[in-house]
């Protein structure tokens, strides 16, 4: 009975938790509700992944309206994987949130924070599970609106401006997306993704479809901060509360990448958009520029949060690069990097949150000798940093390995060189932090600071440990990602 309705529960649980947070009106109560909600979501997501692995894609007609007229929830390998990613991060971040929110968000607003967090989780899970193009827009906006609020809760007043700019850009992106969906609807008369996929090839040659594709691409690219549409991201990440930064960095851009994958490989699955509509040239070009520009700018940042934000822009470039290669290996590289980047960025931002908790700053000049003052936190940070570089035995290596193999399979060796060169840039900005925190003496007269509390260290180390575990034992993730990529491309894995 419950197993049958898991797809609906996936979204409903956090959705119901949100108003409950308001009703409880107390930070601790709201925190507990969101804790239960996110752990339940995690359990549901894992169960769904199990079901998909065992019995193939699940279709769930919402309210028993048969697709394509009703809204269909559709869970296949890709969506199940993304659901697991999002809900894992949600489940790990929430125990951590308590201490961090206490420090960074005024206590009378803390319950609102948890309410928004639950809504944000709802939106992201919804994006990943829905099989309806318009429904995706609704969830996209639920996730975005709540994340604007979350960003604006940052202690610095610049958080407000960051949230405002994020809102403007995000709304333009979402509006572009519905224009695209409208055009598709005009040509096909359906909004169901699977149905769209069947009907689109017949009208593929029209200019309307090409326009629709352009609108959809730009709209989603704004949401996923693909260079040069990334301008909202650095400030939003830098000034948001630490928990929010960690949560959004690990999930928000991931679901946007997922939406992009859905558009290209499911909705437009019947048409080879990469060969016929010049999507490859555009995406690959932008991805490469993003990888270089993001990493280069990151090298010059003095606020570590901003540095990591720019590094995110570069990392999004890797994911989009994987998509643009559009082979099973390439796409699976992109999908693995979704997961891997969520782990490493999550760990890095959580570590930074611990530093901010004790130090009140994430500026490089304040981090002298921090490695000796907060050894556990910084050790986790280093693990995350190594993953970012792509050092073997960390998850980053698995991603890069797969991406480079994909490039070499196609014979595009310059691409392989580019990936390696951008990794070198990552070495520079990560090493800067390592040098400052381990090889500089602790400033004289600095106040004694303790390690972060266990409630923060445990989630941090769960993610940092996962970076290493899934780096050394990548077989499972690689298998899932390959299966997902194969499903998307309609070939056997």
């Amino acid at each position: 009975m419950i197993a049958e309705h898991l797809p609906a529960l996936q979204v409903v649980i956090p959705l119901m938790a949100a108003p409950l947070c308001i009703l409880l009106h107390r930070a601790s109560g709201a925190w507990f509700v969101s804790l239960v909600a996110s752990w339940c979501s995690f359990a549901v997501a894992v169960a769904l992944l199990g079901q998909v692995q065992a019995g193939g894609p699940i279709s769930y007609p919402l309210g028993d309206w048969a697709p394509p007229w009703g809204i269909e929830y559709r869970v296949d390998m890709v969506s199940a994987f993304v659901l697991v990613i999002v809900s894992t991060i949600g489940a790990v971040v929430i125990p951590y949130a308590r201490a961090s929110v206490e420090r960074e968000v005024p206590s009378d607003r803390a319950y609102l924070f948890y309410c928004m967090y639950c809504l944000c989780l709802t939106g992201m899970l919804g994006i990943a599970i829905t099989g309806d193009a318009f429904n995706l827009f609704v969830f996209l906006e639920i996730a975005s609106l709540s994340s604007y609020v979350l960003v604006s809760m940052g202690a610095d007043r610049r958080a407000l401006m960051a949230a405002y700019r994020y809102l403007i850009m995000g709304t333009i992106g979402a509006t572009f997306y519905i224009i695209g969906v409208g055009l598709l609807y005009m040509m096909t008369g359906t909004l169901n993704m699977a149905d769209l996929a069947e009907r689109l090839p017949a009208v593929a040659e029209t200019r309307t479809i090409l326009t629709a594709l352009a609108f959809l691409t730009v709209g989603i690219s704004l949401k996923l901060a693909l260079f040069p549409l990334h301008l909202w991201l650095p400030n939003a990440y830098a000034f948001a509360p630490s928990v929010v930064t960690a949560f959004l960095a690990a999930t928000a851009t991931k679901v946007a990448v997922y939406a992009l994958i859905r558009i290209y490989f499911t909705i437009f699955g019947g048409i080879d958009v990469f060969e016929t509509m010049a999507v490859r040239e555009v995406l690959m070009g932008l991805a490469i520029v993003a990888m270089f520009a993001g990493s280069l700018v990151a090298v010059y940042q003095n606020n570590v949060k901003r540095m990591l934000a720019y590094s995110s822009i570069a990392q999004i470039g890797y994911m989009v690069l994987g998509i643009s290669i559009a082979s099973v290996t390439g796409l699976s590289g992109g999908i693995i990097h979704l997961f891997n980047h969520a782990l490493m960025k999550g760990a890095l931002f959580l570590a930074l949150g611990c530093v901010v908790l004790r130090l009140g700053s994430a500026h490089v000049r304040d981090l002298d000798g921090i490695g000796r003052r907060m050894p556990l936190t910084m050790a986790a940070f280093v693990l995350g940093g190594l993953s970012l570089i792509g050092v073997p035995l960390t998850v980053g290596f698995v991603s890069k390995w797969t991406l480079i193999q994909a490039a070499l399979e196609r014979g595009w060796w310059p691409l392989a060189v580019i990936i390696l060169l951008t990794s070198l840039l990552a070495v520079i900005y990560v090493w800067r932090i390592v040098e400052v925190s381990y090889f500089r003496p602790v400033p004289e007269g600095a106040a004694d600071i303790a390690e972060a509390p266990a409630s923060m260290l445990v989630p941090l180390w769960v993610l940092a440990g996962a970076c290493v575990y899934f780096g050394a034992r990548a077989e499972q993730t690689v298998t899932i990602a390959r299966a997902a990529a194969a499903t998307l491309l309609g070939v056997s894995p």
């Binding site: 035995l393 070499l408 390696l420 070198l424 090889f439 050394a472 990548a474």
Partner: protein, 492 residues
């Protein structure tokens, strides 16, 4: 105890040692005891593997399978066993020496020093026992990272700058070139396992072989082939024991070891035989041999002079690998051991002189032989071994390298070996000559005649350098054993 356990232990012992050293940090005597015990245990472990390998066994163990077909795996073969034995034996000697040096010199942060040293040794064992190129790459990088704190040990701006050069060049070349080559190899051959006879034969051909070889040889920045050699002189800001064991033995030998492994087990000599590309690289190596020797001549700082000498000697081995025939490759393998003993002796002496007299420049070392006769004599022995004169071990490796060059009738390379021997004499002998035959200077700079009192470095230092000097001589008589031990790696 099975061989598999021994292999794993040979990495666990130095790592565990590092942990213990960190714990015992506040008690120097205990800390140094731990270092010595780990070093001795490690050597015993490695030595216990040797008979099995000599008998043709190849004990192997898979640590973890990362992706299908791609595993972290270890396997002991002759070249690796030799490298591991040399490195672990010299770790014992260096530990003894370090104790004298670090205390005599009053260095700070000694605990971090010993910890990193042990981690570096664990990485070296990993490199020596790697069963595939990926495993080797991982340990290669961890060796780079674990030696960085040792290079920047002094913590001065100058040391930090040197540290950046060190890290930048080693990481840069390894990620940009070596990793690309590894990925390419995997793409072409579907495996990265070290296999006698190579894995690339029949999988790639034409210019691709050349590009790959180029990527590997320049990607292994630790061989200090010009123009990527600058990290080695930069690393000389480190304390002398580091320069001695790591930058004359472990790190740089890891580099040439990797080159040999790649040539023998990835490409296979047959694939390289008769190609043009390795010839070009051979010329690059030959040029490095000569230029580095010439630069060494002009260096007044003794450690820098020795560093450039190392650059030059490493290229002997690269040259041997690129000539790609049995004699030259065997000579290269032997040179790993021979040069290790010779060069570590020289560095020990340089350090001992520094501790005892605070002199670092060659021009200051007039009459040093009168106050430090043992040290200077050891320096003389080490120099002879490097030059390649009997009865020192260095003679044999040079002999086989030259034989390899001669057997392919490439007179140029034979000439390079000969000329560089002459250059060796020119830059090493002045130290000895000044030491023994020039009158010592007094502190105010005036030349004083007569007998100065003997003032050697602390006993552990002198003991260590005498032992390695003795090793140079002993190796001369056991060279045939090493040759027989290495022979099977060619798969013939």
């Amino acid at each position: 105890m099975s061989a598999e356990t021994t292999i794993l232990l040979s990495m666990a012992v130095p790592l565990g040692g590092a942990g213990l050293i960190a714990v015992c940090g506040s008690r120097p005597n205990l800390r140094e005891t731990v270092t010595l015990v780990s070093a001795a245990t490690l050597f015993a472990l490695v030595a216990s593997l040797l008979p099995e390998v000599a008998a043709g066994g190849r004990p192997a163990v898979t640590v973890v399978e990362m992706m299908p077909g791609l595993a972290i795996a270890l396997e002991v073969e002759p070249l690796g066993a030799l490298f591991a034995a040399v490195a672990s034996f010299l770790w014992i000697v260096t530990s003894v020496y370090s104790i004298g040096y670090m205390r005599g010199h009053g260095e700070h942060n000694q605990t971090r020093f010993y910890v990193c040293f042990a981690v570096a040794l664990a990485s070296t064992m990993g490199i020596a026992f790697s069963a595939n190129m990926l495993t080797l790459f991982i340990f290669y990088e961890s060796l780079t990272l674990s030696t960085y704190p040792l290079v920047t040990h002094a913590g001065t701006p100058e040391a930090m700058r040197a540290g950046r050069v060190y890290l930048g060049l080693l990481l840069g070349t390894s990620i940009a070139f070596q990793l690309l080559a590894i990925l390419w190899t995997w793409n072409a051959a579907g495996t990265l396992d070290f296999t006698p006879g190579g894995i690339l034969a029949g999988r790639v051909e034409g210019p691709v072989v050349g590009i790959l070889l180029f990527l590997y040889v320049f990607g292994i920045g630790k061989v200090a082939l010009m123009p990527f050699h600058r990290w080695l002189p930069a690393a000389m800001v480190a304390p002398t024991p580091v320069s001695a064991l790591l930058h004359a033995v472990a790190v740089v030998k890891a580099g040439v070891f990797t080159v040999l492994k790649v040539t023998i087990y990835i490409f296979g000599l047959d694939l390289l035989d008769g190609l043009d590309f390795n010839q070009w690289l051979a010329y690059v190596a030959a040029t490095t041999v000569i230029i580095a020797s010439l630069v060494a001549l002009r260096m007044d700082n003794l450690k820098l002079r020795l560093a450039y000498s190392t650059v030059s000697q490493l290229s002997y081995i690269v040259l041997g690998a690129m000539l790609a025939n049995s004699w030259s490759v065997l000579g290269g393998g032997m040179h790993i051991a021979m040069h290790a003993f010779g060069k570590i002796t020289l560095f020990f002496c340089a350090g001992a002189i520094m501790v005892a007299t605070h002199k670092t420049e060659v021009s200051q070392m007039r009459g040093i032989g009168r106050t430090m006769p043992v040290t200077t004599f050891a320096f003389f022995i080490g120099s002879l071994s490097l030059i390649g004169l009997p009865p020192m071990g260095g003679m044999w490796s040079k002999w086989y390298l030259a034989l390899g060059a001669a057997s392919t009738e490439q007179v140029v390379f034979v000439a390079v070996f000969m000329i560089s021997s002459l250059l060796n004499i020119a830059y090493l002998m002045p130290v000895v000559v000044r030491g023994f035959f020039f009158a010592p200077e007094s502190t105010d700079g005036s030349v004083t005649g007569g007998d100065a009192p003997i003032r050697e470095a602390p006993l552990p230092c002198v003991g260590a350098l005498s032992l390695t000097a003795l090793g140079c001589v002993v190796l001369f008589f056991y060279a045939d054993r090493i040759l027989a031990f290495l022979q099977p790696m060619l798969g013939k």
